[in-house]
Symmetry: C2
Subunit: 197 residues, 2 copies
Amino acid sequence: MRPLNTKSKEDILALAIPLFARSGYSGVSMRSIAQKVGVTVAALYHHFPDKQTLYLAAMTQVFVDKDERLGEILSSSIEPKKRLAQFMTSFCEVVDKDNDFCMLIQREMMDGDESRLRLLATEVYHDLFQGVTNLCQELDPKQDPYLLAISIIGMVMYHFQTAPMRPYLAHSKEQHSDPQVIARHVTNFALQGLKTG
Amino acid sequence: MRPLNTKSKEDILALAIPLFARSGYSGVSMRSIAQKVGVTVAALYHHFPDKQTLYLAAMTQVFVDKDERLGEILSSSIEPKKRLAQFMTSFCEVVDKDNDFCMLIQREMMDGDESRLRLLATEVYHDLFQGVTNLCQELDPKQDPYLLAISIIGMVMYHFQTAPMRPYLAHSKEQHSDPQVIARHVTNFALQGLKTG
DNA sequence: CCATACTAAACGAACGTTAAGTTAATTAAT
DNA sequence: ATTAATTAACTTAACGTTCGTTTAGTATGG
């Protein structure tokens, strides 16, 4: 059925994803995707009716399952403090390795319409967010779980988002881009804050 | 010298900035800027040699002076804890009000080449970052000032970046978009963490 | 009179998209 | 077993549109 030298939808999406991550929707042309895949533009239109559909399929491909994988990290029933440390390590690793994923989340938050934001919330953040809020409520039931979860997730993400700018900032060292160093720091900071009192 | 019904460079930039903030560099055309300003495209080329120069001028317009203003908040010599609380309140207010500024920073961090990242670091983050690291060193000299500063700034920014997605997330309430509520939370979190130990 | 701030009109290049034809693997019939 | 029909996976070539940019000309305040 399928010729040997043929590209599947998944092959196309896998190559389109890093392009969208780096340059955004309007920064990527159908021709640039076709070139990367090694086919003509018309071949893309054989698999997808238009650019928007291709883009949305790419987003879905990146996001679906990612949520579960992030949620699983938090589903264990070990001691809350240890679970937080373990989560931070895993989360930092994921964000560090899958940089495309990280950038696409950010772009979707800025560019996404309501339906795409809902997709992002349900397919990317749901399990992760649920896990973090649960963990927060176990660690400190008196504080607002939503605010805590956003603070924790944002804290981690920002370390990787600012990475390209790090060389130009004061007090920066090479180790500050090491996910393990970041994980240890954010864990410590989340548990104790600036411990001044 | 200048006709009455004429647009200055600053007028053009002021109208171009929100466009770039919302749609990014490649998402905004010279024609869309011209339409917003109420002139023809050629008029834009009378003021700026090309699109890139116009964009860079817009970035500079947004960023310069912003750094100082953010830095000033941190330059007072009141008690560190109070200074942190005061900074959080002011920072949240700025980020909440000037949403374009917030989004442009993010876009520049993702799209910017080396020279633009350096501009971002020196014109936007320098004084702010210096102030926060200083404050952190006063509050807890033992911790790494770089990691702390990134954590604190990122924590705050993320609350406003995730705002459009908030309605679709669990445990969210309307008050979670109030800059004062966010400021109080992040201050408390930065000072005490989850205070479980 | 002269510079400044424009407009009208057009340039080629790149864009998303489509129509028509070609290749190659599978299936059905002889 | 060979061949014919069928289909998915393409290519080539072009469509109209929008893009960044330019050129030539016009109006206006000093």
